[in-house]
Symmetry: C2
Subunit: 401 residues, 2 copies
């Protein structure tokens, strides 16, 4: 037996993400891609990034290119702390760990808090890469039901009685469904989690990308404000990222949590990659100080909001009767459900032949559900291409009906 | 009980690295630091980095700030493949995974190849952060003896009979001892590993930083050349990094291995952080294309070589009789062994009071050995400061003798 064969037999728990496999195909310029979760790179304010990069390398180049602390760049952590502090409670630098994107945040949380056999409550469907981050640990996922208003807290009791170790959810503009958890459900969820002593991982990559409706308080905020501890002693573990509001190529995300949990996460991160790129952290900080985020967010909201509207209108116009979806108030995704007879994974090769890409929804689901669903991203393609792409998908669906 | 206390009880296997704790103190400008493994930031060619960064953002800014493939930037992988190919064998792009520094390379290898209870052969002492990366997996380390010529392959038989899962070593300028494995031992090691079917992790962060003696073939090269497989089907898993030869703030490292192992590592990396910063990868590639590495390496070799010489001379002059060390032909470190009565961890606070920092050697050792050793870095402080620092340490050692 050769070495390749030997290595091929290693660790079987991991599953290569089909999303990333489809993404590979979508690099072709004639492809209209509703797959992936790519920000619209044509909107990146490149001149501002160049200015910021130049300023970093001129003013603090030697620090920005040197090793850094595992916890992350102190002024960047302070900036984040400032954003999340409220009159009732303070987030301190010590409550924050900078991570290599929020994917690493999820990975580190899994490593520190989860052991083989632990149960974790997630929405069904849920964020695909959360499943791939925590599956190798050997956890058992408990599927919470959800509707247009997000996770159904009134259905949680039977799951909570199974003594889960964590609850994971994306309260704002969930990936893949685009749903947002209502304020009353947020409060119920916190109350239930406190009653059962189960920490919540609040994953919020899209929260700032709201195009309609009113901003709701984060779970972290609701819990910490009720708690009003001078130290942030919350059961909520919050994960955020600059990937969706600045640029994903930076790979800069963060975790906000109780100090002693952050200490554990820092230890895990030391072993994982020592620290996140100092250069990328300095660049992110410089852009924040240069108000690039303040200027760029409205551009993103305007453009993505328009793209969402075009996608919703096109779906109405071109998708067959019986197809349903929730209307997202923000974010980058929605999930179209088709009649049960449709298998979107089988449809995909045909769609790719017509130069349209999407992600079959099954991968986001537990228990083999979601075969009749497709995740559609609306942030990446320009409006006119969105209309064309949805029309092609609609034609395809009718041809296969 | 509050949440902080609950979280404090999580996962106990991780140990916060004392190196990084000492590093925190050494940020003070009056401190002469032989701790850490910091490159000399004052040598960084900042103008060249700025030019490269500007070129990246002008020519491929949108790609450099966008999400990228988990495997890493194709032309960067091709550059690395070219560096490691030889007439007898080709390294292909598919044999290479870009990692977030070589710390992540070690972490991913541990995740994919190691299970709880597995045995791993390491040198004693060995690289501290390898221990912190693999300890949480629950592996059992088997300590191989070493001398001035590196790992003693003639002593390996009893360890190999315990059916280890991996052998880990740093053949060039080992951290912490500064030793280099001789060519004959390299060949013996490969033969033994093949005989016992144990893969080798060849960690080579310092290989390019040689100041005396002759370059030796990598283990990967010896094995692949003997094998002469058109596909790289080697038992050697090679980890490299740009941290020591360009800048650590980039966090760009790599793994070279058999294709099917790379496939597994890619899956693990997807869950760990999706991919390494595209911006940092583009910047590294641009610097390679601009020949920054070709121009910078001689500067590093000249300066670090001089610093090594100054440290060796100062040790001869100022350290008490009975202190011993190996003379490193390259790299950044040496390990001074003091009489058994000396406990360097107890000495450290006094040294810090005199504004000199080092890392107590015990942390690099297994079985509680090395209490009488100190790791000394010679790449970070300028020559005149090295002499002053070693003199202070020598005075301190005499005062405590």
């Amino acid at each position: 037996m050769n070495w390749s064969d030997r290595f091929a037999k290693c660790t079987a728990l991991m599953k290569r993400s089909a999303v990333r496999e489809v993404l590979r195909l979508t690099a072709r310029p004639d492809m209209i891609s509703f797959a992936g979760g790519l920000p619209a790179a044509e909107l990146f304010p490149l001149d501002r990034v160049r200015e910021a990069s130049d300023a970093v390398l001129r003013n603090s180049g030697r620090q920005a290119l040197q090793y850094g602390e595992t916890e992350g760049l102190a002024p960047l952590r302070d900036w984040i702390a400032g954003q999340f502090s409220r009159p009732q409670f303070q987030v301190q630098r010590e409550n924050i760990l900078i991570t290599t994107g929020s994917q690493q945040a999820l990975d580190l949380i899994g490593r520190v808090l989860l052991d083989e056999g632990d149960r974790v409550i997630v929405e069904n469907p849920t964020y695909l890469a959360l499943l791939s981050a925590w599956r190798p640990v050997g956890v058992q996922f408990l599927a919470a039901s959800s509707d247009a208003d997000g996770l159904r807290t009134d259905d949680l009791a039977p799951l909570l009685s199974q003594r889960p170790r964590l609850i994971y959810l994306t309260p704002n503009f969930q990936n893949p469904q685009g749903t947002t958890l209502t304020e009353s459900r947020r409060k119920s969820l916190i109350a239930l989690a406190r009653e059962h002593s189960v920490p919540i991982v609040e994953d919020n990559p899209y929260g700032e990308l709201r195009y309609s409706g009113t901003a709701l308080p984060n779970l972290l905020e609701i819990d910490a404000a009720a708690n009003a501890d001078p130290e942030l002693d919350s059961l909520v573990i919050y994960t955020g990222t600059f990937s969706k509001v600045l640029m994903p190529g930076l790979r800069v995300g963060w975790i906000i949590a109780a100090r002693q949990l952050i200490d554990k996460l820092v230890q895990a991160k030391q072993g994982a990659d020592l620290h996140t790129s100092t250069l990328c952290q300095h660049l992110a900080l410089q852009m924040l100080n240069d108000r690039v985020l303040d200027d760029f967010l409205p551009v993103l909201r305007r453009n993505y909001g328009e793209r969402r509207d075009v996608m919703l209108d096109s779906l109405e116009k071109h998708f067959p009767k019986g197809a349903t979806w929730f209307r997202p108030d923000g974010g980058m995704f929605l999930l179209a459900s088709l009649p049960d007879s449709v298998n979107t994974a089988e449809l995909l090769p045909e769609a790719l032949r017509r130069n349209v890409a999407f992600v079959p929804g099954e991968e986001f689901h537990l228990y083999g559900r979601g075969k009749n669903t497709m995740r559609l991203n609306f942030s990446s393609a320009p409006p006119d291409r969105i209309e064309i792409g949805i029309e092609r998908l609609g034609d395809l669906l009718r041809a296969f009906a």
